[in-house]
Symmetry: C2
Subunit: 379 residues, 2 copies
C-alpha cells in the first residue's frame, strides 16, 4: 500500500487558507478537516454508525496513552489493530501520548531516554520512549502517527523552552529511526507526523519549524499551542509555523479549538484540527450552533420547541428540540450527552465543510470575517 499523499487544490487569494485532499490507505480526507477525538477507541457518547453516516467524520483520533493502558497492545494486536477493534474503517490518527503523560499521569519524570510515569488509573509504573511509543503506535495501527514530543507549559522560560525543543528534535530522530527499522503490522502504511514546539518564542518556533520541515515527513504538526496563552498569541505563532512549514504537506494544529479558533487557523494555512471541545463541552450542555453558542441548561429553553439547529441538515440537530434536550439535561438522562455530542460534532464537521466550499469559491476570508463574531454570540 502507499504512503500518505497530499494534493493541494486551491489557495485562498485573500488569506493563507487552502483546500486539499489527503489520501491514505483507509481512504481520502478533504481538507480543511476537523477530527473528532476518540480517546480510548470511542468518540464519547457517539456510535461508529452515527459518526460515519450522520456526522460524516472522515478521520478520527485515538490516544496512545489511553489505548496503551486500556485495552493494551496485546488485545489491539490480537484484534488486528484499532480499526478492526472498534470497527472504524476510515483513517485514524493517534497522538504520541506525550501530552497525556504530562497532563494526566501521576508523578512523571523526564530524562533524555524518555518519560517515566505512573498510570492515572491504577498508579502502575510505565516508561515511554521515542522507540516504544513508535512500537505502541505500530500495534494500534493508525494511518497517521505522531512523533513523541515534550509539550512545555505556558508560560515557559526561554531556556526551558529551548532545551525542551531540542529534546523533542532528538526524540523525533529516534522516532524516525525506529520506524524505519520496524515494518507496518497490518498491511497498510503508517505515516509519521513530526511536531513543531518552541513555546512562545519566535526564534525557537522558526528553528523548530525549519527542523521539522527538513525531516521531509508526509505531514507536519504544530504542538504546544492552545495551552493557556492568549488567543492572539496562538494565532501569531500558528502563522509563524505555517509560514515555515512546506506548503505541499498537510499542516495539523493540535488540540484546537473553538469554532472561531478553527476558522482563524484555516485562514493561517492549517489543514487539520482536533479537539475534545465539541464532545466535552457538549456533555456539559454547551452547544455550538450556526446561530451562536447555547447553554442548553438555561431555563429560557424550557419551552422552546424549535430544532437544536435549523441551520444544519443533520438528523439529530433537526429532529430534537431545544426544550427536549434541556429536559434531558435537567433529568440527567444519558440521551442528553448523546444528542449534545452528536450535534456539536455535526456542527464542527459542517463548519470545516463550509470553509472548504468558500475556499473553493474564493470568498473564504470575507465569509470567515462575518462568521467569527456571529458564531461567538451567546444566545
Amino acid at each position: 500500500m502507499a504512503a500518505l499523499s497530499f494534493r493541494l487544490e486551491t489557495t485562498d487569494p485573500h488569506s493563507a487558507a487552502r483546500a486539499g485532499t489527503i489520501t491514505t490507505d483507509h481512504g481520502v480526507i478533504q481538507t480543511p478537516i476537523f477530527m473528532p477525538v476518540g480517546t480510548v477507541g470511542s468518540v464519547k457518547a457517539v456510535t461508529q454508525q452515527q459518526l460515519k453516516h450522520e456526522v460524516q467524520a472522515q478521520i478520527i483520533l485515538g490516544n496512545t496513552y489511553h489505548l496503551y493502558l486500556r485495552p493494551g497492545t496485546e488485545v489491539l494486536e490480537a484484534a488486528g489493530g484499532l480499526h478492526r477493534f472498534n470497527g472504524w474503517d476510515r483513517p485514524i490518527l493517534t497522538d504520541s501520548g506525550g501530552y497525556q503523560v504530562f497532563s494526566l499521569a501521576e508523578k512523571r519524570k523526564l530524562t533524555e531516554e524518555g518519560a517515566l510515569f505512573q498510570s492515572h488509573i491504577d498508579g502502575s509504573r510505565h516508561m515511554f520512549t521515542p522507540e516504544n511509543v513508535m512500537d505502541i503506535q505500530r500495534s494500534i495501527g493508525a494511518d497517521i502517527i505522531m512523533a513523541f514530543d515534550e509539550c512545555p507549559p505556558y508560560p515557559s522560560e526561554y531556556a526551558y523552552a529551548r532545551k525542551s525543543m531540542e529534546l523533542t528534535h532528538r526524540w523525533l530522530d529516534r522516532c524516525i529511526k525506529r520506524l524505519s527499522e520496524t515494518p507496518d503490522k497490518y498491511g497498510y502504511t503508517q505515516n509519521l507526523f513530526p511536531i513543531v514546539q518552541g513555546s512562545t518564542y519566535k526564534d525557537l518556533r522558526k528553528a523548530s519549524s525549519e527542523y521539522i520541515a527538513s525531516r521531509n515527513a508526509a505531514g507536519n504538526a504544530i504542538g504546544g499551542l492552545s495551552v493557556g496563552e492568549p488567543e492572539e498569541m496562538m494565532y501569531e505563532f500558528t502563522a509563524l509555523c505555517c509560514e515555515n512549514l512546506p506548503a505541499d504537506k498537510p499542516r495539523y494544529l493540535m488540540g484546537v479549538g473553538t469554532p472561531w479558533n478553527i476558522l482563524e487557523g484555516i485562514a493561517l494555512g492549517v489543514d487539520m484540527f482536533d479537539c475534545v471541545m465539541p464532545t466535552r463541552n457538549g456533555r456539559n450542555g454547551m452547544l455550538f450552533t450556526t446561530q451562536g453558542v447555547i447553554n442548553i441548561r438555561n431555563k429560557k429553553w424550557a419551552s422552546d420547541f424549535s430544532a437544536i439547529d435549523e441551520g444544519l441538515s443533520n438528523e439529530t440537530s433537526r429532529f430534537y428540540t431545544k426544550a427536549y434536550l434541556r429536559h434531558l439535561f435537567v433529568a440527567n438522562e444519558i440521551l442528553a450527552l448523546q444528542i449534545a455530542s452528536m450535534h456539536n460534532l455535526n456542527f464542527y464537521l459542517w463548519l470545516v465543510t463550509e470553509a472548504r466550499k468558500h475556499i473553493m469559491a474564493g470568498d473564504f476570508n470575507s465569509w470567515k470575517n462575518e462568521m467569527v463574531p456571529h458564531l461567538k454570540q451567546r444566545l
Copy 2:
C-alpha cells in the same frame, strides 16, 4: 379518531399463547409485544431513531410520576403532548405513577382520596388522586393510560391485600368517571387500562380480575406481580388472572421481566410486557443473547472478537464485538451503555417477534420449552 381495538389472530393449540394486533391512533402493535421503558420521556441511552429503525420498537412507555415532576404538564401541554415533545410518533403507554409513589417517593401517605408524597428529587409535596392522575395523563397524551392503583408489597397480609384491592377498584371507578368527563387533548383517543390487584391470594385475584373485566375496558393489566414473590408463584397468579380476563382484549403483565419470564407469560395468555431490565441490566454489563446470559465485564471476553450476538440481524448486535464492548465497560465509556442497552432491546424485540412467529406456526409451546433453559444459560 378511534378507540383502541384488538384483533385476536391465532391461539396456540398447546398453550394459552395468542398472536394479535392492537390498533391505536398512532399505529398498530403486533402482539405479543415487549414495550421498552422511557421513564422520563427517553429510553435510557437509546435515541428515538435507533429505537424506531434498529430495535423496531412498536410502542414505548412513559412514567407519569417522572414526567409530572420533570418536565411537568405545563411544558408537555405546550409541546402538544409527549409524542411531540420527544418525537416518538408510534404508540405510547403511560403508567399511573402509583407504583413509583410507593417505590421512589420519600414519605408518602395513603388515604381514600389518594396518595400524598414528597418528590425524590427535591422533597416537594404532591398529591396524586385518581382524578388528577387522569388529568396528568391527559396532558402527557399517551395512547394507553393506566388506572391509578395501589400495588401492595410481597408478602402482604390477607386483610391488607383485600383492603388495598378494594381501594384500587374504587379508584378505578373514579378514573373512569373522570375520563368520561374530560376530552382527549390532542385529537386522538386515549384508552384506559384497569389493573388487577389482589396480591398472592387466589380469591382476591379472581375477584379483582372479574371486577376489572366487568369495566369492559379496551385492554386489561395485571399488576402487583414480579415484586419479590417466587417465579412459580408469579406464573400461577398470571395464569389465574388471564383465565378470568376477557380473551378478546389485550392483557398486559406489568413490569415483567426476564426473557424466560416473558416466554412463560406469553404461554399463559399475556400479550404485552414492559420492564427496565434490558436497559438497566445492560447498563450494568449484563447482556441477554440468543445463546444465553453474558456478564460482559468478565475477563474471559477481553480477546473475544466475535459479534455480541450473531443470532440477531440488528446492526449494533452484529457490528460490535464482545472484546470491544468489554473494553468500553472497563474504560467507563458512555458508548458501553449505549451498545449494551441497544443490544438488549434488540434481543427483547427479537424474542417477542420470534414468539409471535411460532404462535402463528402452531409450534410455540415446544419452541418455548426449548428456549427457556437455553436463554437462562450463563455463558
